[in-house]
């Protein structure tokens, strides 16, 4: 960290602005965005277009009560991030609200307030921008591995009484592939693809759990039951 410039801390002593690293401000958002899954490798996700930029987007999601969702991929065109792929349960659809935050891509244009630049001339903070606040972090969400079949798997519910209808960040990413062989004709192995996502329970609670985002069959016994089932972290964010 530089030994000059500006550091602003909150009243817990935590750095808010440091004139070295750039704050993440609201870049784009969408409401009631339709997310669909046709249970094919190319159509299991819905791509949300974002403004092309090499600046990494941080995507916050506000899920609905009907389906699990999660961020699956980012999409790039050349050096620019141009899309975010969201998945929901296989052969289902839902609607979500989302927000994308980035390092300040452009200044707000306000002719008053505070602008903070770093020594490279990059805009670190602009008082005319909107910054999401972290309200709480649930650190240790540990789930059992996904079950046989396609019904939603193990879950943990998180309550956040201090804020209604927040946005969420779920990390790290998860993935599981489970194939069960049925020797009875036509003797196929049925695969289920899984991720850990979030589903709204109420304005002050959300469910973190495994959901099946795809399935397919392959002839013969090629069963597998493997993947990554990490300890998950859920951030509750106030936009």
């Amino acid at each position: 960290m530089s030994d000059y410039g500006l550091i602003i801390k909150n009243d817990s002593g935590e750095i808010q602005i440091d004139s070295t690293y750039r704050n993440l401000s609201l870049d784009q958002s969408g409401t009631s965005e339709s997310i669909s899954n046709d249970n094919t490798s190319g159509g299991a996700y819905t791509r949300i277009a974002i403004t092309p930029s090499p600046l990494v987007p941080i995507v916050l999601i506000r899920p609905n009560t009907d389906r699990f969702v999660c961020v699956r991929n980012y999409y790039k065109s050349g050096s620019n991030f141009t899309g975010v792929d969201i998945v929901t349960e296989r052969s289902q659809s839902t609607g979500i609200d989302w927000q994308s935050y980035r390092e300040n891509r452009t200044a707000s244009g306000d002719d008053y307030g505070l602008l903070v630049y770093n020594s490279s001339g990059d805009l670190c903070f602009d008082s005319g921008k909107n910054y999401f606040r972290i309200v709480s972090i649930t650190e240790s969400i540990i789930l059992d591995d996904p079950p046989v079949g396609y019904a939603n798997g193990d879950y943990q519910d998180v309550t956040h009484t201090g804020i209604s209808d927040p946005y969420y960040i779920l990390t790290p990413s998860s993935y599981w592939l489970r194939g069960e062989y049925n020797p009875a004709p036509p003797s196929i192995t049925s695969f289920a693809l899984w991720m850990i996502g979030i589903k709204k329970l109420s304005s002050t609670s959300v469910r973190v759990g495994w959901f099946c985002f795809g399935s397919y069959g392959i002839g013969g016994d090629v069963h597998e039951n493997a993947g990554n089932n990490p300890t998950m972290k859920l951030l509750v964010c106030n936009p």
């Binding site: 909150n10 490798s41 941080i58 790039k76 390092e103 972290i134 990390t171 990413s173 592939l177």
Partner: protein, 98 residues
Amino acid sequence: MSDYGLQIRDSSGNITLDTTDVITRFRYSNEVAAGASSSTTLSDISGLNSVEISVGLETDWNKASHLVARSGTTISWTAQSGTRYSSANSLIFSFLYT
């Protein structure tokens, strides 16, 4: 209310940043190749809290993005693959919130 710190209001007088708020700063990103596992040390994040995220950069549903974790000032990423799924090119990034 604190008697120090920064409070920002918009032109309508609404507080947009308060002295209790926890906001974020972008710290690190790296596009890592499928199958590659490695780490980096960021000495300046000592004592600061951060969130690490990994997302895939490929759409094939039989590909898994890297696992990412922080230990001390080291951020590490580990490729994930199995018999019937493979590692994806991934984006690893980290932001600070203290």
